[in-house]
Symmetry: C2
Subunit: 399 residues, 2 copies
């Protein structure tokens, strides 16, 4: 059910013809009664911001939205002022069908950069898209499928949390992409829904925290796309007293958002095209959380570490070097490094270990790498993949 | 002649047995009279600093050195306190043969990380190495060859500059590596010599400038190794009045150092293993030089851009995205991007161009990419390569 797991929403998706392949490429999520509700977004920090990001940011200024329209197959990025007009037009077309204001509609696009968005397929399909809005599982699947590009599977997740007063909130979500893993198609997008009533500012901070603990801890190639967007709409269908900052409801909402975002991020990592390994880099004992994140990200983003994962080679010297170059404080004579619980480096030098057990760890699809800096108490974890021939194949050509 | 092009030095190299392959692995450069002269170094910023870097830094505290000993085949990095003792021992052994102080000897190592440096081959070969010191071209070649790891060719360069008073200075140098391109073998090293008399502090600043304009503008994978080192010794054999800060001599020296370092950096880029492309990313019109460098480096380090070069795909949307994510200030509606002089993006959107001419540009081995941010007057240039199957092969296994 994913994006429809939380009450108060409808969804649908179809093939409009943006994609030459004829695959589904247009999705719509709306409140059941078409009225705007509390909404929040987290957007790419890339200065070459895509048009839909600019438009969605503006439409979220009041913290409210009634719908999200998503297209795949074209990122509507590097498309200039016409691109912005096209993104606005997508909102207008949706609003006309839904009977809401254009500024209550958010828009996401994903696909190739630098190619004008073809509007004709959208203009001719929007009526059918809105007419298809429904609450059944098939409708949720249609929406989750229509946002995909080079993904091999759709990505959905649901979490619940007790907020007291015998009430249980639900957060559901759908996503596409794996950071910039599918760069020719760019972008990661996620659309989340929840049934709680919540102050828009509290929703925004909760979403930022959830994204910081999930999508921002996933890295495949260190790239930040022009279109990255995570949106959440809160219907209020649960009938709870509105959640503000702090308190049981706020924490429950943050936890549920984090759980859904974390699950979607892991699904993205696992769908990383061409990847033969799924690795979790955990740095503990850092002086600060920033240091821990910087160190974990430095290791995870390293082409050299990714190559060694591809080759199942436990070359910890490369990891130590990346920790040292990451900008985080380390004392090289204190660092411990372990693959799958087998310590290969202790006090910054080679540690005796069971080579056969280590080979078994490296041969597995999932590999845990743990680095203990032993200079503090902070920790962070980042998900990444290996670097493979298939990654090059995927990204050497846009078509 | 390279490292012996400037008067006042001798060199030699041989196979000591550090490398199991039996390839040359030990090189020595010394002043002709074994007395210390002005010397300077630029070292890695990696906090997991290799032992030879720690020792060389300490030995350069007085701005003087009489010799440089270099081994390949083992980086003596992540080797703890024993590693430091071994690096010091290399200096002691050299000093004993040369008749100078151990603190007048600098040491460089390159090769695998995390494996104790085998000292027996060095102990047993040092006498033969010192006895072989000579000024003939064969001796220079022996030294340049013995510092190589996975390099396919030795890297040497010479530059001269007029310093007035009918005097012409000479800078020569030898190098190995391509940043972290050969990561299993780690490191870039360069040893330079010059015949001028120069104040050590002026020499140090001149070297820093030269490195900033050359090696620091080369990037293959964004990695900073544990061992990166550039050293220069100035014999004074030219008989010039000592060069201080500023003036014709200082600028001539800086220019010649920059020319040699730039040439060596380009040779490293061209020897990048597995690379099928050699690309120069030039960013102009940036607000500051820092912005220009950040933007050029962001594009050059991008796995996605490197993959598109490998596929000969002029996907400029990716370049625009990397410019936007680089941290440099850009206005996406003002950016122009050209491959080999063919503008494919103007004002941040697709520009009409000759597809056949563009295909010819992308098919060439050398590709120039020029990005005009049009928000200022600053520029910078960075050298990189494509990302290929062979890069993965080279780095998936350490042996």
């Amino acid at each position: 059910m994913s994006v429809l797991a939380a009450g108060g929403f409808e969804a649908f998706g179809l093939a409009s013809g943006i994609k030459e392949s004829g695959a589904p490429d247009l999705a719509l999520v709306a409140t059941a009664d078409r009225t705007p509700v509390s909404a929040a977004g987290v957007f790419t920090t890339n200065l070459a911001t895509a048009a839909p990001v600019l438009v969605s940011r503006a439409h979220l200024a009041d913290g409210r939205a009634a719908a999200v329209i998503v297209n795949s197959g074209n990122a509507n990025a590097a498309t200039g002022e016409q691109g912005t007009r096209n993104a606005q037009r997508m909102c207008e077309l949706s609003a006309r069908e839904l009977g809401c204001e254009p500024t209550d509609v958010l828009v996401c696009s994903t696909g190739l950069i630098g190619i004008p968005l073809p509007m004709a397929p959208i203009e001719s399909s929007i009526g059918r898209l809105a007419a298809g809005l429904a609450t059944d599982p098939g409708a949720a699947t249609a929406a989750a499928t229509a946002m995909l590009t080079t993904d091999t599977v759709k990505k959905e997740s649901v979490a619940t949390a007790d907020i007291g007063g015998s009430l249980t909130l639900t957060v559901g979500g759908m996503a596409k992409g794996a950071a910039m893993l599918q760069p020719a198609m760019a972008t990661m997008l996620a659309v989340l829904t929840t049934d709680v009533a919540v102050d828009p500012r509290a929703l925004r901070v909760a979403l930022q925290r959830a994204v910081g603990e999930s999508f921002n801890q996933l890295t495949v190639d260190g790239c930040t796309s022009t279109n990255d967007t995570v949106l959440v709409l809160a219907s209020g269908a649960l009938g709870n007293p509105p959640i503000g900052f702090g308190g049981r409801g706020y924490h429950a909402l943050t936890d549920a958002l984090t759980a859904v975002c974390g699950d979607l991020a892991e699904q993205m990592g696992r769908d990383a095209e061409g990847a033969t390994k799924f690795a979790r880099i955990t740095v503990v004992g850092a002086r600060t959380v920033d240091d821990a994140r910087r160190a974990a990200r430095g290791v995870a983003n390293s082409q050299l570490v990714q190559c060694s994962l591809n080759g199942q080679d436990p070359y910890w010297g490369r990891i130590l070097s990346e920790l040292g170059a990451s900008g985080a404080f380390i004392d090289p004579l204190q660092v411990d490094i372990a693959y799958g619980g087998i310590t290969v480096c202790r006090d910054g030098i080679a540690a005796e270990h069971d080579d056969r057990a280590l080979a078994a760890v490296m041969a597995a699809h999932d590999i845990d790498i743990r680095c203990d800096l032993r200079v503090g108490q902070s920790e962070a974890s980042v998900i990444t993949t290996d670097l493979s021939y298939a990654y090059i194949d995927e990204n050497a050509k846009t078509s």
